[in-house]
Amino acid sequence: MYCNKPVNIIKTWRKIKKIIKVSISLAKINFILRTEGSYLGIFWYLLNPLIMFLIIISIKKYALSNIQVENYPLYLFMGITGFNFFKQALSNAITSIRSNTDYIKSINTLEPEVLVVSGVFQVVFSHLFEFILIIGFMIYYKIFLAGLLFYPLIFFFFLILTLGLSFIFATIGMYIYDFDNVWIILTQLLFFISPIFYVIKKGDFIYYFNLINPLFYFLTLARSAVINFTTAPLWIILGMFFFSFSSLIIGLLVFNRFKNKFTELI
């Protein structure tokens, strides 16, 4: 019997490669366009996390004085940038399909996945600039730089997680037009629930919420590696794997199930 499994695998691999390639190019264009004609250019990407950072650092002395963390400014900045990436990427995903009607209705050459992935990659580019600031912080606070070597790997799993959720969010965004407003409210909740500007201790009430919060796993892993140059507990690493791959699998299944219907909704 003729088996065409290897042919299918090669075809799928080629398709994935093409989607990633086109997504990166499209993300680059959108990234450039966001700062086009602007006097401050890429500084706009850094302004939001920097202002948030300065506000929290300023009030820490008065309102958050009980927080005792070594290298708190770096701890805080990593929290803010991780949160910002997650929030912005998913926000892009919600409108990724419906704001690009032309590309999926007027032509048959563009896979709709490209629009979702490029929205995430666009935020990856701005995260690269935030990463440079993280390096700056580490140099300023004389933190051992070797921990940075683990960051790309940890971020890769975070990216997988975000991509998976992006596919789910893009699908929901096609059926529920209010979902971007819901996401704004949810991100406010997420900001205060996640250990961004404070520390969560085992046994705290909020600790149990965070066991189902993928952002908690990423922040714990990234901070352990970069700031403390240590490995996080095994269950945190496994939790990150679990959330990343399960969200990607579920995301792709959901997106593929509904993507053919998108053209009828816009």
């Binding site: 366009l33 032309d102 209705k105 007027s106 032509i107 048959n108 209010d178 009828e264």
Partner: protein, 259 residues
């Protein structure tokens, strides 16, 4: 040259129903619609029991009034709309709805060429190969690094046409579905050039299905014409007879259609 041995498109008994907006609903549903912002919908049959075959090298024109289902049929063939019936295509397929793919106003002409090329499935190196042809065909060589928002609408149309047609030429699809693509924009001399370019495609070995309201174009390029009315094929065959039936319907809408 039509090759009847090679069937490029096979459609068997396809129907398509859309949900369209309506205000004829209960107060409860209307209130729900008000709060959710979602419009109320009712089913609309866009196509009913469509069957057709298209062969290699065949040029088929699709005519009919606005909203008759012409574009829906092309989108079903291109797999843009979902369907439950049987549509088989054999060969690389390209569909475009006008030459109006979104340019980014704040990018230069050069950047837009790469963007549209990318969207049309070409890699950067492939776009490089046809880049000079695109620019010279558009006759906009001196504006290569000018941002497109500074272009006149005629210049934008010329560029759009030039990019799309050259990318299409490079990809060499075996099945081409063109939905209202005629009129390349720009001045008369450019329109002639654009028509000549489209003619090259239509006269190639590809199977071409074109939707147009311009009967001269349909007469000139199609060896078979399909007339769709209210989502049904009224006539499929001889161009002159089919066009006459369509024109009769336009002039005297209440006259029964005879072929």
């Amino acid at each position: 040259m039509i090759n009847k041995q090679l069937r490029r498109i096979q459609i068997n008994d396809i129907s398509k129903v859309f949900n369209t907006d309506t205000s004829n609903n209960s107060i409860l549903l209307r209130l729900l619609s008000l709060f959710t912002g979602k419009e109320l919908q009712k089913p609309f049959k866009a196509l009913t029991n469509i069957s057709l075959d298209a062969y290699d090298g065949e040029n088929i024109g699709i005519i009919g009034k606005n909203g008759s289902g012409k574009s829906t049929l092309l989108r079903l063939i291109a797999n843009i709309y979902p369907h439950n019936g049987k549509i088989i295509t054999n060969g690389k397929l390209f569909y475009t709805n006008g030459f109006g793919l979104g340019f980014r106003q704040r990018l230069t002409m050069r950047e837009n060429i790469y963007l549209v090329g990318l969207i049309m499935g070409l890699s950067k190196s492939e776009i490089n190969e046809i880049f000079d042809e695109i620019v010279s065909f558009s006759e906009l060589n001196e504006f290569l690094d000018t941002k497109v928002y500074k272009f006149s609408s005629g210049m934008i149309n010329r560029l759009r046409f030039s990019v799309t047609i050259h990318c299409l030429e490079y990809k060499k699809p075996e099945i081409i579905l063109l939905d209202e693509v005629f009129g390349g924009g720009g001045d008369i001399s450019f329109q002639d050039k654009a028509l000549e370019k489209i003619k090259e495609f239509i006269e190639s070995n590809a199977t071409v299905i074109l939707v147009s309201h311009d009967m001269n174009i349909i007469r000139k390029y199609c060896d078979r014409v399909i007339f769709i009315h209210d989502g049904q094929i009224i006539s499929d065959g001889d161009p002159e007879k089919t066009i006459d039936a369509y024109l009769t319907l336009i002039k005297k809408p209440k006259t029964p259609i005879t072929i």
